[in-house]
Subunit: 244 residues, 2 copies
C-alpha cells in the first residue's frame, strides 16, 4: 500500500490517496482521534471513483465526524483500471434489454454481477489487510453501500466485517439469495422505494432472506441517488451502535 | 373534559387521567416547558387502556423527554367502555378463522376494523378539540401507533394532524388503500417483519399506496411487541423533525 497524495480538509479530515498494487483507493481519517478509529469500507457502484468522488467524500466526512475512518477502492474494470470486456458486454446486454423494455434475464444479471463480486471481494479483503496495519486504523470494521452483492459476499466470507449498511439498488443474482441466508451480522438495508433501476420485490426478498437476527429495512421515497438526509443520519446511528 | 386524577413522575412528567363524556383518557405533559408543547396522540390496539398502560406510559415519558405532550383515549368497546357486540362478533369470527388456519376474508376484516374506525376517529377529533384548549398544549399535532386504519383515516380527515408514525400491525380493509392514497402528511411506518398477526404484503402495499411525498418504511425483526429500542428512537427523531 503506497500513499500517493494527501490533503487535509478544514474539518480536520485527512484524505490520502493510495495504490494497492494496481488498485487505486482513498482513505479518510478523522482529524482528532485518541485511539485507532473503527473503519467503514465505502462501497459504491462500478462507475469509477472519480465520478463517485463527491458522494464518497461527503459520506467519508460525515463518518469522520462520528469518529470513523473510511476507505474505498476502485472496482475492477472501472475508472482508470483496465477495461473488462466480459462485464462491459453484460452491461451492453442489460442496456439493450432495458431499452427494449424486455425483462432482464438471470443470465444477464449473473454475467453482470457475479464476476464483479468474485473479483472485487478478495480485493476489498486485501485492502482491509493493508488498512488494518496502519496505526490510526483499528477494528471493528463495517461495510457500507452498494454493490449490494459485494456487501453480501463480504459479510459471509470476511469475519472482520462486523456490521453492514447495504444499499438495495442493483440487480441481485439468484445465487445471492442463498448467500444472504448465511449472513449473520447486524444489517441496515436502505431501499429507495421508487428507484427506477431497482427491482423492489427482489430487494424485499433479499431482506427477507438475510439470516441476521438484527436486520432493519429503511425504505424511503425518491430515486436511486435521492436518499434523504435523515436516512443517512439513521445509517450513521447504526454504525455508532455497532462499531463503538 | 374533566380531569379525574393526577400524578407526577420523578422525571417531572405530569400524568392526568380524564374523561371526555363517557370516554376515559390519559394526558401526559413534560415536566418543564416554556411554550405550549406539541401534541402526539398515542394510538393503540383495542385491548383496553389498562392492559396497554405500561407500553403507553413508556412511550409518553420518552416523548416528554423530547418536549412533547401525549394523550390517549379508550377505544369504543374496549376497557371499561360498554361492550360492542358487533365488533366482538367480528373478533370471534377472526379467531375462529385463524385457529382453523383459514384465510381471513375481507368481510371479517371489514366488520372488525371499519366500524371501529368510523366511531373512533370522531372521538379522537373531539379529544383533540378539548386537548387544544389546554394552556400547556399547542400545535402541531401528530398521531402515533396503531390501529393503522385509524391513523390513516385521521390523516385524511383531520387537518390538524401534521405527521404520523403508523404501526403496521393490524388487518387492513381493502377500502383503506383508497384512503391511503389521499394521505399527504409525512409518514414514518413501522413494520415488524415477522409479526405473526400481520399480513406483511398488505403492509407493504399500504405503504406503497400512501400519497405522501415523504414516507419511510422501517422494518425490523421480531414479533408484534418486539419493536427494538433503536426503532423507537428513530420514530422519536421523526417527530422532532416534524413537530418542532
Amino acid at each position: 500500500m503506497h500513499f500517493t497524495s494527501e490533503q487535509r480538509f478544514d474539518d480536520g479530515v485527512l484524505e490520502r490517496e493510495f495504490t494497492l498494487g494496481e488498485i487505486p483507493g482513498i482513505l479518510w481519517t478523522p482529524g482528532s482521534v485518541s485511539a485507532p478509529a473503527p473503519l467503514i469500507l465505502l462501497g459504491h457502484p462500478p462507475l469509477g471513483l472519480r465520478r463517485m468522488y463527491p458522494r464518497l467524500v461527503a459520506r467519508a466526512r460525515h463518518a469522520a465526524a462520528d469518529g470513523f475512518a473510511t476507505a474505498t477502492i476502485e472496482l475492477p474494470g472501472s475508472g482508470d483500471r483496465p477495461r473488462w470486456p466480459a462485464v462491459e458486454q453484460a452491461r451492453a446486454d442489460l442496456r439493450r434489454a432495458m431499452e427494449a423494455g424486455e425483462p432482464v434475464g438471470d443470465e444477464i444479471v449473473d454475467a453482470l454481477v457475479l464476476p464483479l463480486v468474485d473479483k472485487a471481494v478478495p480485493e476489498w479483503q486485501a485492502a482491509l489487510d493493508a488498512l488494518l496495519t496502519l496505526p490510526d486504523i483499528g477494528g471493528p470494521v463495517a461495510y457500507s453501500g452498494g454493490v449490494i452483492s459485494i456487501g453480501v459476499r463480504l459479510a459471509v466470507v470476511e469475519p472482520r466485517i462486523s456490521a453492514a449498511v447495504l444499499f438495495a439498488g442493483s440487480f441481485v443474482p439468484r445465487s445471492m439469495f442463498e448467500e444472504a441466508r448465511q449472513v449473520t451480522i447486524p444489517l441496515h438495508v436502505l431501499l429507495q422505494w421508487d428507484d427506477e433501476g431497482n427491482d423492489r420485490q427482489a430487494a424485499l426478498d433479499l431482506f427477507d432472506a438475510f439470516g441476521s437476527k438484527e436486520k432493519s429495512l429503511h425504505a424511503n421515497m425518491g430515486g436511486h441517488t435521492g436518499v434523504p438526509q435523515f436516512a443517512g443520519d439513521a445509517a450513521a446511528q447504526f454504525f455508532t451502535r455497532h462499531l463503538k
